[in-house]
Subunit: 123 residues, 2 copies
């Protein structure tokens, strides 16, 4: 993998963001530094970086792809008022899923939990 100014900028944007940006959000932020950067380049590099485990790509049900600097396993909560995506770092969830795996005699290797409601700010 060669160096590229584009990839550096894209990585820095994700590492500096805490709002779980979409590819389009990264694209718009990147354009402020490289005015003619291509959306395809943003997608390719976001996918590349997440394949390498440097950033994390995730999806919330009913939503589009998002990217996160936090690579460790965690879930996401979406506030229906402000639209914010909030990290839920919940280890007990993974324990719970393991139990479920035994009960249902299906071998659960991976899970995605999307939570919806109202965040503490908006209540």
């Amino acid at each position: 993998m060669r160096n590229s100014k584009q990839r550096d900028v894209i990585l820095k944007i994700v590492l500096d963001s805490s709002d779980h940006p979409t590819a389009d959000m990264v694209y718009n932020r990147a354009r402020k530094e490289i005015d003619n950067i291509s959306l395809g380049t943003v997608y390719r590099n976001l996918n590349l970086l997440s394949e390498q485990g440097i950033i994390k790509k995730f999806k919330i049900v009913g939503d589009i792809e998002r990217f996160d600097k936090t690579v460790i396993t965690h879930s996401h909560f979406v506030c229906k008022e402000c639209g914010k995506v909030i990290d839920i770092m919940e280890d007990s969830l993974s324990d719970f899923i393991k139990e479920l795996s035994n009960k249902t005699n299906a071998n659960i290797e991976r899970y995605e939990v999307s939570l919806f409601g109202t965040c503490s700010h908006c209540q």
Copy 2:
């Protein structure tokens, strides 16, 4: 809401299916009964029927919309070998999410859990 042959056929197909069909799957099955039924009609009626609570529309992360005759809250497991979508009727999950709601002082109103792995048949 008026009667329509199309809606009757579409509803019957979902009620007779246990494979969590997509709109396109319902469309292809419906065409065997009404050869010129429109895909738009299928989408509109599937959405209409799920708004009425007669069927259930759901999504698995990374997958497209699916429809289910089972309307009560439950989660879904996807086998990566055979591709089957299997219902997980797990009450304890909902209790767990309620607890999580308290811990995180976010008001969790709804959740979607997608489980991935290998089913009992394919192991």
